[in-house]
Symmetry: C2
Subunit: 347 residues, 2 copies
């Protein structure tokens, strides 16, 4: 796209800012006054016509002003926006809340609640992926003849548990032996590595295997029989904030959105993509590729524990949102959550 003249940019910027702040289509008269350039409405109208031709703004009908299009917002966030750093009170607030707990599960919840609270949008946090967590300890407990409760503890202090249906009944002694084997062989490995180590083990001649190992293999089948993506967990908070936004007044769209929240599948996919990208990322309108998010924007950032990206968080709201603030909030929250999780497990 050809570079915009300084004037076009300035006008586009003010138009979008104005529209974000009061939600009304912006007319040439208003814009001329607001922009601070000494221009007449007529001149502004010419520029607006150009911007419309470029697909950056559009007009709901003849006698309304102009509103930004998705492409307009794109240009805005890419090159026009000036991110506004959080004020100290807010920062303190977030720090305080995230410092209050040390339970990683709790922290993830808190972070999501914070995001929704501070931005007044819906908060999303994808919990650290289980596969990346480091194996620490495993326990097997017999619930009934063939049903065994497996408790897997990872280094970050998270506890994962599931019930598996065993092929045959195991004695308590057998289970102790099996868990000993696990704990000895895999401590300190990431779960992904544990998985592949187990797989490799199974390839070998099973005749030669010790009983304990064989039982462990049996268990493993049950434990790691996750569907892909199921290892991730999504925490959504503040859905109710989306009720306020008039763009979604259309009940049908809102419904689709809330359904997406309860399914979580699509959102997880989206957040998962963001893990591979560095820093804050923004999806405007259809850019996310999911229909349910049509009128929405998603602002995300990955968060790191000990330098390693382990998850993503963000917010979701109407395309018309205060990007300058939201970007800062998401960014800061990602850092602080990462920090809080890193502090865990150490002194």
């Amino acid at each position: 796209m050809a570079a915009l003249s300084y004037r076009s940019e300035a006008l586009l910027k003010t138009l979008i800012e104005r529209y974000i702040s009061d939600g009304q289509p912006v007319g040439s008269r208003t814009l001329a006054k607001q922009a601070g350039l000494e221009l007449s409405p007529a001149t502004v109208r010419n520029v607006m016509a150009d911007l419309e031709e470029l697909g950056l703004i559009s007009s709901p009908h003849t006698s309304a002003g102009r509103v930004p299009t998705a492409r307009g917002y794109r240009v805005f966030v890419d090159s026009l926006i000036k991110v506004r750093p959080l004020n100290v009170t807010e920062l303190r607030h977030i720090e305080g809340e995230l410092g209050a707990s040390q339970d990683p599960q709790q922290l993830v919840e808190t972070a999501s609640a914070l995001l929704s609270q501070v931005t007044r949008l819906a908060g999303l946090v994808m919990a650290p992926k289980a596969e990346q967590a480091v194996f620490r300890q495993i326990e097997f407990l017999t619930l009934s003849a063939n049903r065994i409760l497996v408790i897997l503890i990872t280094l970050d202090g998270r506890v994962h548990n599931r019930i598996i249906q065993a092929e045959r009944a195991y004695s308590a002694a057998e289970l102790v032996e099996a868990s000993n084997y696990f704990n000895r062989a895999f401590a300190g490995m990431s779960l992904t590595d544990v998985k592949s180590a187990l797989l490799a083990e199974m390839q070998r001649d099973s005749e030669a295997m010790q009983a304990a190992v064989r039982i462990a293999m049996d268990m493993a089948r049950g434990i790691f029989a996750h569907e892909p993506g199921e290892g991730a967990e999504l925490v959504v908070k503040g859905e109710a904030n989306l009720l306020n936004i008039p763009e979604l007044g259309d009940v049908h769209k809102l419904r689709k959105l809330l359904d997406a929240f309860s399914t979580k599948h699509d959102l997880l996919l989206l957040l998962d993509q963001c893990m591979r990208v560095n820093g804050v990322q923004i999806f405007i309108g259809q850019e996310s590729g999911y229909l349910a998010l049509e009128e929405c924007s998603v602002v995300t950032a990955p968060y790191r524990v000990d330098g390693q990206v382990v998850g993503t968080l963000g917010v979701i709201g109407p395309t018309r949102m205060a990007y300058d603030q939201v970007i800062a909030i998401v960014d800061v929250t990602a850092r602080l959550l990462g920090g809080a999780l890193s502090a865990d497990g150490r002194a």
Copy 2:
């Protein structure tokens, strides 16, 4: 209240049924036809006037028909309604879903999802109260110097974990000893009993206590430092269903309702009350005593594990709901969830 004549009852019943099924105020003409009594609209009008005087129905404005009031619904569900048993397909469906898992946490989620799915309202399940669960085993794990991960497993196969801040650092050996003490002393007791046993223990001369016991006491302080009511966990599903109901078209009310869902506090209180009552219970409109539930009704039923009431479940929806079906669904789901949870932990 004076007993209603047969005719009044019949007309009230038909009026409410009609209103529930199509949501429009019901006029005398329609009602006369529908009721099956050979009455003229004029007669029906007289009866309606009486019912209005009794506060059972009311008219939105002069030239609309009548709609039931909360009191009207009350009479309806108390003495007029004929509960309609589920059809076989639905029953099979619920049985199937609740039979598929054995994980109690999972079962609670499923039950809530089922309730919302089948009734097309919002489903609520209050998970079995932790205090009533039976102690089975406890494990202590050092996360860092003073931070200890406590994993508490109850007989029903649920895993509760929390991180506590210890007063001083404990060695691994000390922790093993402490957990041994716990497991030996408390296996098979309900958590409430464990709590009071611990309290009693603390009363005694602490000089005489063994080191292990003293440490265990220390732990206990952290573990059982729940606020009352926090032991309970509420699972809400299908909030999105509430978007469809025109009575809540008023965005403001809907907002309050969704906020109540995320706070969960009031709802827990309400469900908690229901544990003490036998069978299905219905709160219509303001009867629940919570403002946020103004235009809503809540239908609940406690569920039992081994004859013991351990939790409550139900649905929440507009006062205008198909009570005859909803009651049956809630009732059945409570039984089946109880059954599924009871089957757990045994052969």
